[in-house]
């Protein structure tokens, strides 16, 4: 285990005091330190939102990009430099709203990037509008009389997609969360950890989550069983935490691509074509 202080930034998170995202930050640091991945070999790609302010609060390479687009940036970076550990960290608006198509396709192609969604079931940074995961009935600025819009269930959807690693954590449970993140990083291919991360300002679900959560490790859950995973993902009374589903039999997109094109670390790679390649390159010109 490396020292977590290796990952300390000198930038103080601008999150509200008590925001769930602090817990997620600790868990990510702990997970990286535990796996002994050095800061310079980590790239965190985020979107826009409170959750997406993550890079900079942790000392790794960061790409703080566009709302909804953390994954395609991560996918490109990982392809260009397969030796990086590439995480996408963002909010529920980012990943389950505007950017969800990227999640679906990154999952189905099984890219070797790890998605952590800090899910507070609300648009935090834009001052508390209804998000795709806000519950039916929730009152927000955009649903002043209570939402009558069915929310998205990201986990059951991704199980339907055939995602190879589907988990849920809670930012109030840092230790378990760190373990989930470690498992996600070690997984062969795409993994998603949906992290319930309460927004104390617009949607404080701490008590709600605490009173309803339980760990899948405490029940005899078979994570290789899709149907069991689906049932767990659709529970409404209780909130299961842990790994819902995992399948390590499918090679990742990156493995498959690497086999054919043998992509390598890019810095030394930029050079003109060889004479042989030139011939191939212009063979189509005549």
């Amino acid at each position: 285990m490396l020292e977590t202080k290796l990952y300390e930034s000198d930038i103080r998170p601008d999150w509200c005091p008590g925001c769930g995202d602090f817990g997620a930050l600790s868990a990510v640091k702990n997970a990286l330190a535990s796996l002994e991945i050095e800061p310079h070999n980590v790239l965190i790609s985020s979107g826009i939102g409170c959750a997406s302010n993550f890079p900079g609060f942790i000392r790794t390479y960061g790409h703080h990009g566009l709302h909804g687009r953390p994954l395609p940036v991560a996918v490109g970076a990982k392809l260009a430099n397969p030796s990086l550990t590439v995480l996408a960290i963002a909010g529920d608006g980012d990943e389950y709203g505007i950017g969800f198509n990227h999640v679906v396709h990154t999952a189905r192609r099984n890219h070797d990037v790890k998605l952590l969604v800090l899910n507070n079931e609300v648009y935090g940074l834009t001052t508390g509008q209804l998000s795709p995961t806000s519950v039916f009935g929730q009152r927000t600025k955009t649903t002043p009389y209570g939402s009558s819009i069915y929310p998205l269930n990201p986990l059951s959807t991704l199980l339907g997609v055939g995602a190879t690693f589907v988990a849920r954590g809670f930012s109030g449970q840092v230790k378990q969360l760190s373990e989930l993140i470690q498992a996600a990083i070690k997984h062969r291919g795409f993994s998603i950890v949906d992290i319930l991360s309460p927004c104390v300002t617009w949607n404080d679900i701490y008590d709600n989550v605490r009173s309803r959560m339980y760990s899948l490790d405490t029940v005899s859950h078979d994570r290789t069983n899709l149907h069991a995973a689906l049932d767990r993902s659709k529970e409404t009374e209780k909130i299961p935490l842990g790994i819902f589903f995992q399948n390590e039999d499918s090679p990742s997109f990156d493995e498959l691509l690497h086999k054919t094109v043998n992509n390598r670390f890019p810095v030394n790679e930029v050079k003109h074509m060889t004479e042989e390649e030139k011939k191939v390159a212009i063979s189509i010109f005549s």
């Binding site: 310079h40 260009a80 191939v280």
Partner: protein, 594 residues
């Protein structure tokens, strides 16, 4: 050596194989020392309708489609009816009287009636080879050596087996024999079988040029007429070690390109206007976090879905206004395949040296839609990755990725480098890539830093402008009329000028390949020298003239504009210049089908 050239057109329904017939003929001509320039009259459907393939070939560097049609092969009725009126005096039209009913044939045009289908059926159960017979016939009219036919057909169909090759060769030779008997050529070419010329369209040239420049990452979502770039990358991915990503949409393609570039690859993506529209937000991101990328828009006729298989230069304004607020971008519009290949090394160098997005603008006419000869490919443009560090000292928590410097370019480091950590940020940021938009925003020091950061980013444009090429002046310095053009529109202008010069008209042209940023004062000086300017563009609003006016105040009121989807013919330029010399000044619009 006298200048000789000829125009040929093949017309049929989509699915009849006219594309491949056209390619065979183009290859035959190129292998006989001809310069070529072709155009695909495509439609946005897969089978049926009416498509044609036009070839202009000559022993001088043809750049455009020539004028009218010398020799025509009409495989169906609509091909006959649609093009018969465009055949030049002394020309000929080949058709099968069994499938095509000849209406009135203009005087001076020779009808050549050949049993194309009958011959084709000799070599295959289905009459697919009728276009091969036609090619043979055309080869006879052109006077190409019979033995070239065999060679080229071997090249085209070699992979399909001996039987198919032989069938095609024999079919072609029968056509050759019959046509040679029935027509005494009025126009001829000067062949040099020792000169084998290469030809390609700008899409392939662009892809090859990019790969030569070290591009190892390509992402795309298919879109006509940019798809050939993707196909090129896909077919060469394994041999060249290129990572190709078939993205779920253009936004993902662009973002993945940025991710790959951020991680250190020379990375590119390409699309057409509609796809580019979707990429705009992300392009602003690349400019903001100073990630070097190359982005290609192969323009087609719009607006919106428009005419997917027709040409236009309608996307310049989009490039000038990409997404929100001001940021640096570079825009280059190569004029032909050769220049496209040779531009790509420069495009990547500018992107990496200045850490900005570089946009390459092609159009259907020279892209997917038209081949032209490539003679001088420059494989050796040096690779310049700019201020790219491979090592960083241990100087603190974060690396100063956005350091303020004299040339506005900051040293860059790639993920994986120890001590180089920084955040590539789309919020306004300080020199380490940390937010100026949250706890700092609006405080005096942050406001000042913000202005410095804007100045840094936008200031690059001044430096880049110094390195950009001024427009090329073609023709005599002393001219009565100066034609202003950009990108592919320069091609018909070149041919028009040859004609005008031959007639003693003093005309020259100012041709923009590099569009933005430029040393506009110098451009203004060049333009002010002209006695009379005519702006020639393929769009409705004269977008380049607009840019010139915006940057120099010079209003070019006299314009030749086309937005029909069809490329301009040299004859139209000739006519416009003559009218202007007759003092018929104003905006002219062309609406002819080619």
């Amino acid at each position: 050596m006298t200048d000789k050239d000829i125009t040929i057109r093949l017309g049929a329904a989509a699915g009849d194989g006219i594309q491949s017939a056209g390619e065979i003929l183009t290859r035959m001509l190129s292998m006989s020392g001809q310069y070529v320039c072709t155009y695909n009259g495509n439609q946005s459907l897969i089978r049926g309708g009416h498509v044609w393939f036009h070839i202009h070939a000559g022993n001088w560097r043809v750049t455009s489609l020539g004028n009218g049609i010398d020799y025509m092969l009409a495989l169906n009725q609509i091909a006959f009816d649609e093009h018969i009126g465009k055949i030049n005096q002394g020309g000929a039209i080949i058709f099968d009287p069994k499938t095509v009913k000849a209406g009135t044939i203009p005087a001076g045009v020779t009808p050549i009636r050949l049993p194309l289908t009958e011959i084709a059926l000799k070599y295959d159960k289905r009459p697919l080879m009728k276009n091969t017979v036609g090619i043979g016939a055309l080869a006879a009219l052109l006077g190409i050596d019979r033995k070239e036919i065999g060679e080229v057909i071997q090249l085209q169909f070699g992979s399909k087996g001996k039987q198919i090759v032989e069938g095609n060769v024999n079919a072609a030779l029968e056509g050759y024999g019959l046509a040679a008997k029935s027509f005494v050529p009025t126009k001829s070419l000067e062949f040099d079988y020792s000169k084998k010329r290469m030809f390609t369209h700008a899409d392939f040239a662009l892809a090859a040029g990019a790969v030569n420049a070290g591009c190892k990452f390509y992402a795309a979502y298919p879109m006509s007429p940019a798809s050939p770039i993707l196909h090129y990358m896909a077919i060469n991915a394994e041999k060249m070690g290129i990572s190709v990503l078939l993205a779920e949409d253009e936004i993902a393609a662009m973002c993945a390109t940025i991710g790959a570039a951020y991680a250190g690859a020379r990375a590119m993506c390409a699309t057409s206007g509609g796809g580019f529209a979707l990429m705009q937000e992300a392009l602003g991101m690349a400019a903001m976090n100073e990630t070097p990328i190359v982005v290609v828009d192969v323009m087609r006729a719009g607006p919106s879905t428009g005419l997917p298989t027709k040409t236009s230069q309608g996307d310049l304004n989009m490039m000038l206004g990409i997404s929100q607020d001001d940021f640096p971008r570079v825009i280059i519009a190569p004029r032909n395949s050769e220049e496209t290949f040779n531009t790509m090394g420069r495009a990547f160098n500018i992107a990496e040296k200045w850490q900005v997005p570089v946009i390459v603008l092609l159009d259907f006419g020279i892209g997917d839609g038209g081949y032209s000869t490539v003679d001088n490919l420059d494989f050796e443009e040096p690779i310049d990755r700019g201020k790219l560090l491979t090592e960083v000292g241990d100087e603190g928590t974060w690396f100063k990725r956005y350091e303020l410097t004299d040339d506005n370019v900051s040293p860059r480091v790639l993920p994986g480098t120890p001590n180089g950590m920084f955040v590539a940020k789309t919020d306004e940021h300080d020199e380490y890539g940390h937010d100026l938009s949250d706890v700092e925003a609006g405080l005096q020091h942050a406001v000042e830093k913000r202005v410095e950061m804007m100045n840094k980013r936008m200031g690059k444009l001044t430096g880049i402008a110094v390195e950009m090429n001024l427009p090329e002046v073609a023709g005599p310095a002393d001219a009565d009329v100066t034609l202003v053009s950009w990108g592919s529109t320069s091609n018909p202008i070149r041919e028009a000028m040859r004609q005008l010069w031959a007639e003693g008209v003093k005309v020259n042209s100012v041709e923009f390949c590099d569009l933005f940023p430029l040393r506009w004062k110098e451009v203004a000086k060049m333009l002010r020298k002209a006695r009379h300017l005519i702006d020639v563009e393929s769009n409705y609003t004269a977008q380049m003239a607009g840019l010139i006016a915006r940057e120099t105040g010079i209003m070019i009121e006299d314009r030749l504009l086309t937005y029909s989807g069809e490329p301009l013919e040299p004859a139209e330029v000739v006519e416009k210049v003559k009218n202007v010399l007759k003092k018929e000044i104003g905006v002219s619009v062309r609406n002819k089908a080619l």
